[in-house]
Symmetry: C2
Subunit: 342 residues, 2 copies
DNA sequence: GAGTGCCCCTAAACCGGTTAAGAAGCAGCC
DNA sequence: GGCTGCTTCTTAACCGGTTTAGGGGCACTC
């Protein structure tokens, strides 16, 4: 096993020019069928593989997509989203011979720097934009950097990028209706930061759902999606004179922390307090009680995003927004009728 | 903002040849100080940035490292290791202008294919090898593919790659001693697969620790590091005629599932059963009871691995194995004296 | 029989760097 | 004055592809 053959080797062996080999290998017209076959079989016999590097240089493409993950170091390990999401991306990228460049940073300055670096070094042809924020500056940034992108969810600003969205609403609605049907009247929501679009959207869905049922929606507390935040706000809610009998958490991590807080206080879940999460993370099934949650098709989300972005990079014309199946309620054991009306 | 300047632009502007510009920019000897300064200031004025693509093609380097993650889809979301590990890697890579290519696969064939693809496409200069297995075929594979690598831990086969290791032993020993000191005599271990080196090593440490204390070490059950596996084996242990009063789990995920199983049976943790995990994952602190566990310097591990691999890629001579601070016991609330001797 | 058009192919430039070979200029030395 | 050797710089090849311009051969047309 020596050095890898190049198209020059193939050309020599097949008795044609370099250029023609390139044409034949790329299935372009203007090559006689017989010649094309000969070139292909020679390439095959020599074990020729294209050099991504050379192709990158001449075609001005990277054949890779990027994912910048900005997360507080404290949250990063426990967040079930990204590993599954990356697995989904991989499902679309690997068969296409594309690679995924991942960058993980802990704050917004580093995030911006990371995008700039990806663009300056021509590492990727496009990026997947997660965790959209209100008035998200990254959209203009990426447009300025001339990177392609897809956004996870619909941004609240003008965007030239297609979106891949999962509607959180139905999941939250189902959770609230489920709790109301069980008899709960005082239902709280531990929300993610309203600066993040999905945080805000989940809150709004929660409020809408309560209103539709004619219930008060005053118990919405905003925090930061972290376990620490979930624990703190849960404690605050339980300290109220009239504490809620059920809490809808905006993600599983906060729900798990909230569960711990309740149990620590001697409350029984679900008898004294019902709890729902959001994410459908696997670990929730193994807790005691297992966590009623809202599942999101994360893997599918990753796959669809990567596919759409690839199409957009190629210059496919009909790239348009994609709506994935909505989030769905997954009832497990952390919800039950409130004790007061039992 | 037009097209990016190349060294040809710099050369023209500075009135020298392309080659000399390259020499000046790479700080190589043979350039007059005055000329060098002129070239550098012209480059600076034009806003010249090197093209990684062009450099890759001519220097036969990718300026990127790879990480192939092989995990069952079921485990992937809940595993706290990789996000933190990647964050650590990033800490070393970003300042060096290097990128991280991540590939996530679900089985061994796909894993091999992934390494082959990374090598065939020249995507990376080296890879970080995690989750070493017994007689790990990947080492020979990577040597054959002429990729550089570092291994996480010491392999049990001949390897030309440097290792970055964290000794699990002291953590497991501490956990066992902690439990023994509390009065436990029947201590079980829910182990990871013995086909994985760190799974086997933790078991062995467990057995050694018990022996050293003169206790029986017959309660070692092997499973797969998953929540489902942890739950199932915990159930089996608790079904024994003489069940253990404490269980040492080989990772946090299994410990959390085990905790759920015990509580589901009406056992109180830690009163009826003590539990320890392994990983030091953050979420464990918020459970009820909070999980006594063994912490590993994951972030540091990632950083050190990436740095070592970068040095190895450059051809630095004195790359040798690195031993990081050993894993440490973190006592929280899931361990207490057994009820029997209370 | 010249002109036109098409098909198949070659030659060569190009992408943006690195690097080997060699030339020019100059000082030092005998 | 010629030789040696050093520094500084240029030229040109090279990495491995893609792509444009154009040439030769052939059939068809009038």
């Amino acid at each position: 096993m020596t050095i890898r053959p190049t198209i020059a080797d193939v050309a020599r062996e097949a008795g044609v020019s370099k250029g023609l080999v390139s044409f034949a290998l790329n299935d372009r017209p203007g090559v006689a069928a017989e010649t094309r076959d000969r070139i292909l079989s020679v390439a095959n016999a020599l074990g020729w593989r294209p050099s991504v590097r050379a192709r990158s240089l001449s075609t001005d493409r990277s054949f890779a997509l990027g994912l910048v993950i900005a997360r507080d170091p404290e949250i990063i390990s426990s967040d079930p989203f990204f590993p599954a999401f990356i697995a989904g991306i991989e499902g679309a990228l690997a068969p296409a011979g594309q690679a995924l460049v991942v960058s993980m940073v802990s704050n917004e300055e580093a995030e911006v720097a990371s995008y700039r670096q990806l663009a300056a070094h021509d590492r990727v042809d496009g990026v997947i934009l997660t965790d959209l924020r209100r008035n998200d500056p990254r959209i203009a940034l990426l447009e300025g950097l001339r990177l392609k992108a897809v956004t996870l969810g619909h941004p609240d600003v003008e965007s030239s990028f297609p979106a891949v969205a999962v509607d959180d609403g139905p999941g939250i609605h189902s959770a609230v209706e489920h709790l109301a049907a069980l008899g709960h009247r005082r239902i709280a929501h531990v929300a993610g930061p309203s600066s993040m679009l999905h945080g805000g959207r989940r809150s709004q869905s929660f409020i809408d759902a309560l209103r539709a049922l004619g219930l008060a929606s005053d118990l919405v507390v905003e925090t930061d999606f972290s376990a620490a935040g979930g624990a703190k706000t849960t404690a605050a809610l339980l300290d109220l004179d009239e504490p809620p009998t059920a809490i809808v958490f905006a993600n599983d991590l906060m729900a798990i922390a909230g569960l711990g807080v309740a149990q620590r206080r001697g409350l029984r879940v679900p008898d004294d307090l019902s709890i729902t999460g959001f994410d459908g993370s696997d670990i929730g099934a193994y807790l005691y009680p297992s966590l009623t949650t809202v599942t999101t098709p994360v893997l599918e989300w990753g796959r669809a995003s990567a596919e759409l972005l690839l199409r957009s990079v190629i210059g496919d014309d009909d790239v348009h927004d994609i709506e994935l199946p909505a989030a769905q309620l997954l009832v497990r054991m952390s919800t039950a009728p409130p004790r007061t009306i039992r």
